[in-house]
Subunit: 431 residues, 2 copies
């Protein structure tokens, strides 16, 4: 091993998180070459800290033997997260060579997508049979891996989750006591299929730092810990931010430009199509614009103001849906509130705009036209900004996905149509 | 007590979280009346689950005696969070009547704003002097409040943080052993002034579920727990989403329309001013538009496409800054990447746009003009979308705050100027 390699190795050993960040910025080919030189024990902690899609890209370039060695060096939870991003065929090859029990456990985990409790859980959970004594429980714990001891779950004879035992209660009890009376029975558990936003809401509400995950028969499958949820809710929130404007939810600031093209271009083209729709609306009023050039000058103000108004409603509603503040029966209340807010803000903005236009062009009719259009468009903007994510949510779609593009379609079309339409109606006072 | 009151009381007792949500939707006056009827022991858990600004508004309507009773029923951490939102004078009155030690503890906490480790910490932390035996430590723990026992921090003779003791090590050790050799010395701690995003990053990186908070002399002040951080990072992320478009970071979907006016109107007026700036740019080209009406029809396409492109870059960079993925030396790399992405996406969109315009108007020069303008504006959009949050961040300002409004100013002005400017240059082939 040369000096540089030794350096990389000691860096990766001491700072797996930073090493993971550094690797994500390399080309996957180069990154896999760097990792290929290092022993599996060093690579494991680094790979489990990579963004799963980066880890998948890197691992896809390994031989099945290498992949297997790395997967075995990782906790099953992280191994499954990485495998979700490795191609199906490569995945099968790697699993085929693993010890049967480990492979079965991974396959079990792979059934649950990463956005569910099952996908986030750690299957390495210690459970104590309920008929133990305190002494027996303690000697069982001596053999358990250290990191699995946050909560001590207790199971009954059918391996069903029976309750939880406090480390403190165990500490303070007499060795020959049975654990059964110490077990707290009222315990929250989550189904493996539960969505991660729901898990996060439950954790936040009850201030747990872990939740047991169970199958349909209440059998203990694993544990979801706070750090997984912490990472997940933050990711989710920023994914919403990015998806709202049609960037990919998982694009990272330091990804190469090619990723930014791949993730963004599709939605830019959708936006282009909607822009042409708005243009077509304008073209219907070409004669009016030819007569009064000021219309062309002023129309982007109405549309732009609508876009901003709509984006505000959009952001507030997307947040409300994500943190589960918005319950189904509140939907009408929110729509009404946004309509009212659109009217009030629209009225205030309309007065200022009309005043400025009067000062600029000295035409009261033009000021009135832009003022009326502003109120109409800001009401449409506020309403559609709230309605679009609510409708997407009701349809079972992602309420954030490109909602900003759909919303500006409404505000552009309504904005131009209202302004130019009112202008046409009052044309005789405008020329 | 009548039936309705009994109902409210049992509801608030069983579901403090839901009760808090329900109260936030009431007028603060009504909410304080409802709470005023209930005993402090029931009110405490509800008030500590209110959004702090709502709790502040409600408590401001109580008498100092009532306020004091509620504050005393709450853990100091939550009491301080609520007090941050109560007027200075009311705050003083309530504190004046409290037992001296409790008042001093609260005043200490109030020094740290809620966005810092000190503002998020729980000062009720159990610490064990390092010279205890295992037996002595256990009997000390017997007296400690249950919820404070996640980690057992150990302090030396000057009350400085010396390390942490595992509950498991304590459980497995002999009663007469000294705890000193069991103490883990390498321990991460955070200063009370550390920003909450940094605390979250540390917690995520090291997978802790709590971090000890220390003062400048390494003396233990409290503990920041995962649930505080979980709530904080999610709040922060959605605040970014809302602030980006000029809605208030703390506006909630179910707040009344008046809040939406108060939080949004200011930025809408700023947006209006920038819209007039863009209009003024258009007005410089009025003659060109009067000659070629198609220019008015097509110009919003260029501006709108720029707005969408810029918003994508904005979202990706705001996320990168918030999760601390963007380090200072990566700034130039990101700007260059966004410029490249703007060029590539711009080129692709320009080709499609030019094709569509050629099909629509049959004028190759018009198609060329819009294509060129599109490339220029999408490069400007991508660059400014990345640069605006980076500059705000470098200036120590919030990178999300209304960045979308600043960005669309650039894309509107550049979009209109580029498109109409190129049109003027090539006017002889357009008419």
């Amino acid at each position: 091993m040369n000096t540089l390699e030794a350096l990389v190795r000691s860096f990766a050993e001491a700072h797996p998180e930073s090493a993971a960040h550094a690797l994500e910025r390399l080309d996957p080919g180069e990154a896999s070459k760097v990792l290929g030189e290092l022993p599996a024990s060093v690579v494991g902690p680094v790979v489990e800290r990579l963004a799963p899609h980066a880890a998948g890209a890197i691992l896809s370039r390994f031989t099945p033997e290498q992949t297997r060695a790395f997967l075995e060096a990782m906790p099953p939870k992280q191994a499954a997260a990485v495998l979700h991003h490795v191609e199906e065929s490569k995945r099968g090859e790697a699993l085929a060579g693993m010890p049967e029990q480990a492979a079965r456990r991974l396959q079990e985990l792979l059934k649950y997508p990463p956005e569910t409790a099952g996908g986030m859980m750690d299957p390495q959970v210690v459970s104590l049979p309920i008929d133990l004594t305190v002494q027996e429980a303690i000697s069982l714990l001596r053999k358990a891996p250290r990191q699995s001891l946050h909560y001590l779950y207790v199971t009954d004879r059918d391996y069903k989750l029976a309750g939880v035992l406090g480390m403190r209660e165990l500490l303070l009890a007499a060795p020959r006591d049975r654990i059964e009376p110490l077990v707290r029975r009222e315990i929250k558990s989550v189904r493996a299929t539960m969505d991660r936003e729901e898990v996060a809401a439950l954790m936040r509400e009850h201030r747990f730092f872990a939740l047991p995950v169970v199958d349909a028969d209440q059998r203990l499958m694993g544990i979801v810990k706070h750090d997984e949820v912490l990472a997940a809710v933050q990711e989710e929130a920023f994914e919403d931010l990015q998806k709202m404007v049609g960037a990919g939810g998982d694009e990272r600031a330091l990804a190469p430009a090619s990723v930014a093209v791949k993730k963004r271009l599709g939605w830019l083209l959708v936006n282009l199509a909607t822009a042409f729709l708005a243009s077509w609306v304008i073209s219907l009023f070409e004669h009016a614009i030819a007569k009064v050039a000021a219309l062309a000058v002023l129309m982007p103000i109405v549309a732009g103001q609508g876009g901003n108004t709509g984006a505000q409603a959009l952001a507030v509603v997307i947040r409300g849906l994500a943190v589960r503040e918005i319950v189904p029966r509140a939907v009408w209340k929110i729509l009404f509130k946004e309509l009212a807010a659109g009217f009030l803000n629209g009225f205030a903005v309309a007065i200022v705009t009309a005043g400025a236009v009067l000062a600029w062009y000295g035409k009261p009719a033009l000021a009135a036209v832009i003022g009326m259009a502003m109120v109409v468009n800001m009401m449409a903007a506020s309403l559609s900004g709230a309605a679009i994510p609510l409708v997407l949510h009701a349809l079972g779609r992602d309420p954030a996905q490109s909602s900003s593009i759909f919303m500006t379609t409404v505000t552009d079309v309504v904005g131009f149509a209202a302004f130019l339409g009112f202008a046409l109606l009052f044309m005789r006072w405008l020329v």
